[in-house]
């Protein structure tokens, strides 16, 4: 790659994999990083400063549950000092009045709270713990302190039928942005995809509901809904291109071109403890491997959509086709599309109601405390 690297705009700072929730659709890796291996406060400060120097404007503090880090307020202050617009991406467990006051003072800009459903019983069963009531209170605190509130709901077969009520909850809570995020099948979600994938009729109904809400709430609430790629002919324009706009730093300091890049088992990721963020972004093998269009095989290489979807998702190619360097199997032109289509068709047969206790649904478990860094 001889062209100069583009400028990154956003950093996802996955500051810990620890999380009080056990959602079976989590996109964290199956091998979660243990606390012992996490970057220190000073290491994160360096990452934030280097990201700002590179051109990054937005930082999302995520995880796991970022509130599990006792130094979160210091990290937010460091982001603010570096001129970054910061977003806390949280389950809200641990968001006390005192903590939110401190975060406000440190300069946090916005907060995204995840919800599992609009209703407590189902929501808590999906989360694998009692969390919903806490989230309702936390969302009120977020508004009371004048933060913009984003509500994020991961959709799957178990909750997608409740979309109208989920949207109504977002309105009640005063959310300014609602992410109706169809499950992306990586990590724990891939393991559970047989149970989680909605049926075609569910997707069609949800698409109509979301589209009507988007119109109705224009200017008041931004509503996001994207048809999942398993049901689409076209792949998603993953990360707007590999190594083009975004980088993720995971709890142990690996720098990833996308949050789920750990799915590409053959790829090695450089660590901020060993190299500068600028070097990793511009020079590292991982970031250059799929940058631009030169790496593309057919049918991508000569495809008229190649600058629109960038060949789709590398992680999905690795997961489904066993090779990260081929066309995303979600694409209608991929020789591997049939694999995905067969899976989708097999999922239509089941008329049994969604059961969280179904055999094979694996709830996320944290790494043991004494596990070393991976």
């Amino acid at each position: 790659m001889n062209r100069p690297a583009p400028r990154p705009f956003s950093l996802l700072a996955e500051i810990t994999h620890r999380c009080p929730l056990h959602c079976p659709y989590c996109s964290n890796p199956l091998e979660l990083a243990a606390q012992a291996g996490e970057l220190t406060t000073d290491e994160w400060r360096r990452v934030l400063n280097e990201a700002a120097e590179l051109g990054v404007l937005h930082v999302g503090f995520s995880g796991g549950e970022p509130l599990q880090r006792s130094d979160l307020v210091q990290l937010v202050a460091a982001a603010r000092a570096a001129g970054l617009y910061s977003n806390l991406i949280t389950s809200s467990l641990g968001l006390s009045r005192r903590r939110i006051e401190e975060l406000k003072r440190a300069g946090l800009d916005s907060i995204q709270v995840s919800f599992q459903s609009d209703e407590e019983t189902l929501a808590d069963r999906i989360a694998g713990t009692s969390a919903h009531a806490n989230k309702l209170q936390a969302a009120q605190l977020v508004r009371e302190f004048g933060f913009p509130l984003t509500m994020n709901v991961v959709l799957h077969r178990g909750n997608i039928g409740r979309l109208e009520r989920i949207i109504a909850l977002a309105e009640t809570l005063g959310a300014e942005r609602l992410e109706l995020a169809n499950t992306q099948y990586y990590g724990w979600a891939f393991k559970n995809r047989g149970t989680l994938l909605p049926s075609r009729s569910q997707i069609e109904h949800a698409t109509q509901v979301a589209s009507a809400a988007k119109q109705r709430l224009l200017g008041r609430m931004e509503v996001l809904f994207v048809v999942p790629d398993y049901y689409s002919d076209r792949p998603k324009p993953c990360m707007h291109g590999w190594g083009q706009k975004h980088l993720t730093v995971n709890p142990i300091g690996e720098v990833l071109p996308c949050p789920t890049a750990h799915e590409i088992k053959s790829m090695r990721f450089d660590i901020v403890r060993e190299k500068s963020l600028a070097w990793i972004w511009r020079e590292s093998d991982a970031f250059n491997r799929f940058r631009g269009t030169e790496w593309m095989p057919e049918p991508c290489h000569s495809c008229e959509f190649r600058e629109m979807d960038f060949g789709g998702c590398r992680c999905q190619a690795a997961l489904i086709a066993g090779d990260a360097a081929v066309t995303d199997p979600a694409c209608q032109f991929s020789p591997n599309r049939q694999t995905l289509t067969e899976f989708v068709e097999a999922s239509q047969k089941g008329t049994a109601p969604f059961s969280l206790d179904a055999d094979g649904l694996t709830f996320r478990q944290n790494a043991r405390k004494d596990d070393g860094a991976q």
């Binding site: 400028r7 705009f9 700002a52 120097e53 051109g55 404007l57 937005h58 001129g83 617009y85 977003n87 800009d109 916005s110 995204q112 004048g146 913009p148 984003t150 300014e176 942005r177 224009l218 200017g219 008041r220 609430m221 931004e222």
Partner: protein, 97 residues
């Protein structure tokens, strides 16, 4: 484009932050999951959205600055404010969407 009432006080939303981009030295408006790279006119308008200045005063100031008449530029200013509102980046107290 219908003009907003002349005595309205447009104010950038608290979810938006106006700052200078380190890389380009140019003004940017940051908000959740998004950024607007502002051109000089957009920047001039955004800087006046303080909640202290009325729409009419805003138009008069910009007209003086760009050596135009208020009548000439008021539709453009209104259009720009409308676009900010659609992104939920502007408060106009007393108006309804």
């Amino acid at each position: 484009m219908q003009l907003p009432p002349s005595d309205i006080h447009p104010k950038l939303s608290s979810r938006a932050r106006l700052q200078t981009d380190k890389v380009t030295g140019k003004p940017v408006l940051l908000y959740p999951e998004g950024v607007l790279m502002l051109n000089p006119t957009g920047h001039a308008i955004a800087q006046l959205c303080t909640g202290e200045v009325t729409f009419q005063e805003m138009v008069d100031k910009l007209a003086a600055r760009y050596k135009k008449t208020s009548q000439e530029i008021s539709p453009q200013v209104a259009e720009y404010l409308h676009r900010l509102r659609e992104r939920n980046l502007l408060e106009m107290p007393g108006t309804t969407q």
